[in-house]
């Protein structure tokens, strides 16, 4: 009896030992990820200021009430939605699908060259990409030089349409991901299905709508979700190209959060905005996990 008990105890020790390797990673994740998120939840309900030394009082939902009453916050939400819609849902997603589709019909050298260029834009460090597109969109930059050649009116893009310029920048930088996801998805569609439709005389757009899109809808879901999440958190690209300006006309939520916390020294308020961003991100992640019915 006693022997059985000690053997069981030894068994559960061995059981625990097998799981020991997971400890370092878990410790890091708890300390540096769960910790800050918890701290974020706390700070968001206080009036902590960067300069206000130790004055940090619990203020309840004041920061959130303030945010929803703040025109600049509403402006940031609107710009974030515009930025995400234009660059991720319309831009990266559609262009990525189009590229993946065209590549299946294109000749090999063209496919290789285009793929390499699109992927290079993706692999480049964020700040280098920002710098390149800053140069591209500047008044004296390449875009205006081209428009000039075509006798089209030039613009100071970063000033007149800053949110459009940063959205294009994000498309330039992020399309490769969609392209790779969709290339893989299209490669998995059995050839005979498309051929059968072709023989039946279905036109290109019809085939796309009735056959291709339904067959890759899982990839579309995955791609949209991941694109949206990564676009929600873009900071460096916008910060380097426009600093959120001119005024606040390209100030998306991450930039707004940074400005409030560090330019205006309102850490509590900035963190409340961060928490809202985190909540939106979590909602998307949960939808994503459900949508994918992940098997682990």
């Amino acid at each position: 009896m006693q022997q059985a008990g000690s053997r069981r105890r030894a068994g559960s020790w061995r059981q625990a030992g097998r799981w020991l390797p997971i400890a370092p990673a878990t410790a890091l994740l708890l300390l540096f990820l769960a910790g800050p998120i918890g701290y974020c939840v706390w700070i968001a309900f206080t009036n902590t200021q960067l300069t206000g030394s130790s004055s940090s009082d619990f203020v309840g939902f004041a920061n959130f009430r303030r945010a929803f009453a703040d025109d600049n916050f509403r402006n940031a939400v609107q710009l974030t939605l515009t930025f995400t819609f234009l660059s991720s849902i319309v831009g990266q997603n559609t262009l990525g699908l189009a590229l993946a589709g065209l590549m299946r019909a294109a000749s090999r050298p063209v496919r290789t060259v285009t793929g390499a260029l699109v992927i290079t834009a993706w692999v480049l460090p964020e700040i280098v990409a920002a710098f390149l597109l800053y140069a591209f969109f500047r008044r004296e930059g390449t875009l205006n030089a081209i428009l000039d050649q075509l006798h089209l009116p030039a613009q100071n893009w970063l000033f007149t349409l800053p949110i459009l310029a940063v959205s294009f920048a994000n498309v330039w930088r992020g399309t490769a991901f969609s392209m790779l996801i969709y290339s893989a998805a299209l490669a998995e569609i059995p050839q005979d299905i498309t051929e059968a439709a072709e023989v039946d005389g279905a036109s290109g757009p019809l085939r796309l709508w009735h056959i291709t899109l339904p067959m890759i809808r899982r990839s579309i879901g995955t791609n949209l979700m991941l694109n949206t999440l990564s676009t929600l958190s873009v900071f460096g690209l916008i910060w380097a190209m426009t600093r959120g300006g001119p005024g606040n006309r390209s100030q998306t939520l991450p930039v707004f959060m940074y400005d409030q916390a560090f330019v205006n020294s309102l850490i509590g308020y900035g963190t409340a905005v961060a928490l809202l961003l985190l909540l939106v991100g979590s909602l998307f992640s949960i939808v994503y996990l459900r949508l994918m019915k992940v098997e682990v």
């Binding site: 997971i22 590229l99 260029l117 699109v118 480049l124 800053y134 790779l180 996801i181 991450p254 940074y258």
Partner: protein, 282 residues
């Protein structure tokens, strides 16, 4: 029969020409900023528009190849990203092993939490992380920044590593078990060598992501002599106005080359579906 074939062939040819044309247009649009980078770096008097240098010169590279502009920031990047990558990969390999080999009621929730975390916008927590780092006195330290970078990259690394590990057959390991090898011995001597390419992909991918990361060191490091290249290049062109664009272009190339080379090294294994495909499909 030949007629039908001829029709399909010519339709194929037309489709190919149309696709080629459209792709080339996109390729040009994507290439313009990159071509500007190349031209400007070789142009002694570069401005912001694409223009082949009239007399190509390497003087921009010469000018930036100094301790202050290039070597110190690149060395900082290497130290920061190298140590963070090492930490990430070691922790991810250790964590992935039981997750891949043993079953427990907690495996699934753990993995779902990991996957959930990979999707979170890490940007959002940088303000509280800054606050926390000030409180625990980790602000403006290389190792503190490396610890945070490693952690931020860890969920995805664990996920990738676990997927690669699932592909290693269990048989050899069981032999090692019967010979009395411990968990760590089995992992290090049997499993990891069998999944060498997988570990390579995780390592390089992690390094690439960290090398390009701007926001984390931008927030957590303050003293100029500690800044990695991602932040030093920003301060370089952040003070617009008196920038020498040719030099900035030259430095951008130096800073980008390592990740481009590393990407080429793993692109075959990432290619097609890209390991992310495997990761996100679950």
């Amino acid at each position: 029969m030949t007629g039908v074939k001829g029709v399909t062939t010519s339709r194929r040819t037309r489709a190919r020409l149309a696709s080629d044309g459209a792709l080339l247009l996109v390729a040009v649009a994507f290439a313009l900023p990159l071509v500007w980078l190349l031209f400007a770096s070789l142009d002694g008097s570069a401005d912001l528009r694409v223009r082949p240098p009239t007399s190509p010169t390497l003087e921009n590279f010469d000018a930036v190849l100094t301790d202050e502009i290039t070597f110190t920031p690149m060395l900082n990047s290497l130290l920061l990203c190298g140590s963070a990558t090492l930490l990430t990969v070691v922790c991810a390999a250790l964590a992935a092993y039981p997750l891949s080999r043993h079953r427990s009621r907690l495996t699934r929730p753990y993995l779902l939490t990991i996957l959930f975390t990979t999707c979170l916008p890490i940007t959002a927590i940088m303000v509280p992380v800054y606050g926390l780092f000030v409180q625990v006195d980790l602000i403006d330290t290389m190792y503190g920044t490396a610890l945070f970078l490693a952690t931020a990259q860890l969920p995805f690394a664990i996920w990738l590593m676990k997927n690669f590990m699932d592909g290693v057959p269990k048989v050899l390991e069981e032999a090692a078990w019967t010979d009395g090898a411990s968990t760590t011995q089995t992992l290090v001597r049997v499993v990891l060598p069998l999944m060498g390419p997988g570990v390579g992909v995780v390592t390089i991918y992690t390094f690439i992501m960290l090398w390009g990361n701007f926001f984390v060191p931008f927030m957590l490091l303050l003293s100029p002599e500690q800044l990695p290249a991602s932040v030093s290049i920003f301060t370089f062109f952040g003070n617009y106005g008196s920038v020498v664009y040719g030099q900035l272009a030259a430095f951008s190339i130096l800073y980008s080359t390592p990740v481009l080379l590393l990407y080429i090294l793993i692109s075959r294994r990432l290619g097609g579906g890209f390991a992310l495909g495997g990761a996100v499909k679950g």
